[in-house]
Symmetry: C2
Subunit: 279 residues, 2 copies
């Protein structure tokens, strides 16, 4: 692991590292926030934050305004990149913002030319936590959250790995990618057109089919002024299956908020306290 | 004024506007944060935030994590751009990061080709507050703060307009531009080589020469791990003249912090509360 940047913040530390990933077969960069308590050798729990389309490890760390509360709660935060990167990593042939680089969708691609590097599911669920838990003063208490495409990641990875996490949350998530344009493009591009392979990557279908080892507390915040609400995000699908399956979803519609980090900055305290309660 | 963006945040609003400036003879963009209390018609005080080299109105608004506390304190924040912009605005002939676009240094240039547009002193002290006070539910209570080049701006504009502001603060400011490379380049380029014209734009000299109508409470925070500390920032010069003149400066050296917005995010609460106390 190579240290790329290190900044003291609210008494703790923000650090960026680059490492050669076995899973994605390229160099990956991630960021970690370590609260002040981690300096004294105390093992702290970790919130994994998955960002949205076009983001890197930097967006959340620079814009969410999460550090003060995370420091008070004694929570570390890890933010991976949103896709493999590098000269050898294939991008969308039309270099779209919603597929390829910056748009890994937190799944393991099966379709060439993407299958070699686009293995973000295994990277986020396995390789990255192993790396974090071997190198930093963290416990094995983990929670997962994310925004938009990263909200989709948090929901699906959390549901499928319910014994690895203690709680799940999401801001403005893509809840039903099988049925919205962003999702259909990504799932067909990375997994092929056979929709039976899509089910494991769709939070609505995972809950509908009860594909989870145990129900985890789940908090979803969605702004009502979000430009992507009607066409891409459609949280009512999640509410419907959660109600049907008695899944412990807490969905809050936030009046007047949009899809930006200004929304995340407004509600991150609530999400951090939610996860802190369940570690 | 044209509304460029509008985002609800922490119950208040972040908005960006573009307007044709008489002072800088080009379109200028600024951002304003309006706390929740402003929605109910209450007139709120305003903190003017001046950003550093290469920044625009966006850096502080996206990265400082100031909104929650500002909202609780009922303070509006206005962030102007750091220079005039546009096709007709001359840049540094070598397009350097520390002169020309993004580097207006909050002074009125006298040297061609810069003198036509680079009138950031008048823009920030006069035109912008007039605009703000005519269009938003704000009072005439004003404070001024900034970072690096913007810290220089906050100190010099605050000192020279002590009846217009109630308090001054700065993060990592250029306190003595007459005697550091960034400052010498800017002052000579915008004002010419006659150093008698530089004195009004140098906080150390303004205090040394007692060029202020009244002493305002002044808070300066400086990280000890700041890469620019020794060569460019040199806060000890400010401490020395403040002690000599009995100027009410509170300089705090912040152990381990660097020049980034991670530092600002760590101390913005203290600065906001400082200004709130003096409005």
């Amino acid at each position: 692991m190579e240290l790329v940047a290190s900044n003291k913040v609210v008494g703790g530390w923000h650090k960026r590292y680059r490492h050669a990933s076995q899973t994605t077969q390229c160099d990956m960069t991630f960021a970690i926030f370590l609260p002040e308590t981690a300096n004294s050798g105390k093992q702290v729990p970790v919130l994994y934050w998955l960002s949205g389309l076009t983001c890197t490890d930097e967006n959340f760390m620079q814009k969410a305004g999460a550090f003060k509360i995370a420091n008070e709660l004694g929570i570390a935060i890890v933010a991976p990149d949103t896709s493999p990167r590098g000269e050898n990593v294939p991008d969308d042939e039309h270099t779209a913002y919603d597929f390829g680089l910056g748009a890994g969708f937190y799944l393991n691609a099966t379709q060439p030319p993407y299958h070699t590097h686009y293995q973000m599911y295994d990277y986020v669920v396995k390789e990255l936590p192993n790396l974090i838990e071997n190198h930093f003063p963290v416990s094995k208490a983990r929670a997962i959250s994310g925004h938009s495409m990263g909200g989709h990641g948090a929901l699906t990875l959390g549901l499928r790995n319910a014994t690895r996490y203690s709680s799940i949350s999401a801001f403005s998530p893509i809840v039903h990618p099988s049925a919205c344009p962003w999702g259909i493009k990504a799932l067909s591009g990375y997994l092929g057109d056979d929709k039976t392979h899509w089910q494991n990557h769709d939070a609505v279908l995972l809950i509908k089919n009860k594909q989870y080892a145990r129900p985890l507390p789940m908090l979803v915040s969605q702004g009502t002024a979000d430009n992507f609400l009607e066409e891409q995000l459609q949280p009512w699908h999640l509410q419907k299956v959660a109600t049907e399956q008695n899944y412990p979803l807490q969905l809050e519609m936030c009046d007047g908020y949009d899809h930006s980090y200004f929304f995340i900055a407004s509600y991150i305290e609530k999400h951090l306290k939610f996860h802190a309660k369940h570690f």
